[in-house]
């Protein structure tokens, strides 16, 4: 399928192929029983320049729908939500000194954390196509 670039009157937003997405603008990469999460290009562009990231301790038990990290931008504060129950196994400590990695490379160096989970259900997530539709609808509202 390839990556999708959603172009609207307001901006251009990259939706990467090979990932799942959430309604709350996170991306999710599934590898075995572990998911890697970050926020989407659309989310970082809406939040704008990020000045602080609060991360959970590895080992923290998390429940689906719960806020697990907080992003502080020049414009607002936003939570990052986990779509599944599980345990935080790794966090991106680079973000502590360089929170703007999320702006520079939201799908790469700006990843936020990894969660080990026993109940991955990708049907609860959005495909790139569905997520691109969601952005278009939000921008045109």
């Amino acid at each position: 399928m390839g990556d999708i670039v959603v172009k609207t009157k307001i901006g251009e937003y990259l939706v990467k192929d090979g990932l799942y997405y959430t309604e709350s603008d996170e991306w999710v990469k599934v590898e075995g029983d572990t998911i890697t999460m970050g926020v989407t290009d659309y989310a970082q562009k809406k939040l704008r320049y990020i000045v602080n990231v609060d991360l959970p301790e590895p080992g923290t038990e998390v429940s689906a729908g719960e806020p697990i990290a907080t992003l502080e931008s020049v414009k607002t504060t936003a939570d990052v939500y986990t779509p599944f129950d599980g345990e935080v196994v790794e966090v991106n400590e680079e973000l502590i000194d360089s929170p703007d990695l999320i702006n520079k490379d939201p799908y790469g160096a700006g990843w936020i954390l990894k969660i080990k989970t026993s109940n991955i259900d990708t049907s609860k997530l959005l495909t790139p196509e569905k997520y691109a539709e969601k952005i278009r609808a939000a921008e045109e509202a």
């Binding site: 009157k9 901006g11 704008r48 000045v51 602080n52 502080e72 020049v74 414009k75 607002t76």
Partner: protein, 369 residues
């Protein structure tokens, strides 16, 4: 309805990232608002601030009329000078807006009003024109916001950009003075003033150019070519916050009076003839229950207090935050807040609650820098 600022396409060509502010679509940043902030403090930036409202007031009774509307004694404002901020109050002394007035001649004044109030300030002025019995021919008010632009060139290196724009005589402008109908890039603009809202207009150099849309486009592009970094509204907000400048709608509104805001810049105490002026004097004499102060968090703290966050002295809630942000110069969060006047401990430490956690902050009278 969201309206695009006239130079939105030009902003985008320069790397602008549009977003919504007060009903306008305009560039909130050009990639990195922290760098835009620092470039304003250390070099020079250019902002398209056309989202601000602009009116032209003409007629034999304009001076008399404005004198009855705003909180400052305008007889002290000289020709080719700006008034500094003045307040429009409701009859209870609550703050409707702060405006900047420009005295061209007795019978020709201009006004710059805040973006959220472009339509409502005009309605308010027209209402009072009728109530006070002025004929439209004696006080003509035109809203020229949608047909003109306002470009701000701000920072220590602003004079280099003004030279490149071919503006003569800007070096002699003192703060709040303006050149009427000067040439910019060989064409007549409405005015060039020594002003801004970044703090650089007082710290180093800040200028604003009021002109037509097409002319403004040329000016914006030429300013960038001459070395000005384009900057957006987020940097404008962090710059004004470092100076402790007040944002209407956030730091003040119709429920706040000018004394508790401590907006001495916008007041001539003792003035009796404006709408709400009597209430200002009453509040001044009776005293107020809360004060606007600044809050400076500890160095390195990037947890940003937002509007409504609570301020504590020990276990006691003593006030709340009205705007907060990150100061790139101080490398920490700063905020404006109202605290009980009994607890306005300038210089002392208090706590501010940000998302459920308490952070130590020092009460300070802005500017923070």
């Amino acid at each position: 309805m969201v309206r695009e600022v006239p130079l939105l396409e030009t902003q985008k060509k320069l790397g602008g990232n549009p977003g919504e502010f007060a009903g306008w679509l305009t560039s909130l940043d050009y990639g990195n608002p922290i760098e835009e902030h620092l470039a304003t403090r250390n070099a020079v930036t250019v902002f398209d601030v056309s989202h601000m409202g602009r009116y032209v007031l003409k007629g034999s009774k304009v001076f008399e009329f404005l004198q009855k509307l705003v909180t400052k004694d305008l007889s002290k404002v000289k020709e080719n000078s700006m008034s500094g901020p003045v307040l429009l109050l409701n009859e209870d002394g609550g703050i409707i807006d702060d405006n900047m007035l420009y005295r061209v001649k007795d019978d020709l004044w201009l006004a710059v009003v805040n973006a959220p109030n472009v339509e409502s300030d005009l309605e308010w002025m027209l209402k009072w024109r009728e109530k006070l019995g002025y004929a439209p021919s004696d006080v003509d008010i035109q809203n020229v916001t949608y047909d003109t632009v306002l470009i701000a060139v701000q920072g220590p290196k602003a004079p280099e950009v003004m030279e490149a724009l071919g503006i003569k005589g800007f070096e002699d402008l003192k703060i709040l003075q303006f050149l009427w109908e000067p040439e910019v890039l060989g064409k007549k603009a409405t005015l060039v003033s020594r002003s801004g809202w970044t703090g650089e207009e007082v710290r180093s150099h800040g200028f604003e150019i009021w002109t037509t849309i097409d002319h403004g486009k040329e000016i914006l592009l030429k300013a960038v070519e001459a070395g000005a970094k384009p900057a957006g509204l987020i940097a404008r907000d962090s710059l004004r916050l470092e100076m402790g400048y007040l944002l209407v709608g956030s730091d003040m509104d119709e429920s706040t009076n000018p004394i508790e805001v401590r907006y001495w810049l916008a007041l001539t105490l003792g003035k009796t003839e404006c709408v709400g002026c009597d209430k200002v004097q009453e509040a001044y004499e009776k005293g107020v229950s809360r004060f606007r102060v600044g809050l400076k968090l500890k160095k390195g703290v990037r947890k940003i207090p937002r509007h409504g966050d609570k301020v504590y002295a020990g276990n006691e809630v003593i006030g709340y935050v009205t705007s907060g942000g990150y100061s790139p110069l101080l490398n920490r969060a700063i905020a404006l807040a109202y605290v009980k006047s009994s607890h306005a401990y300038i210089g002392f430490k208090v706590n501010v609650e940000v998302r459920g956690k308490l952070y130590s902050a020092k009460i300070q009278d802005p500017p923070f820098i």
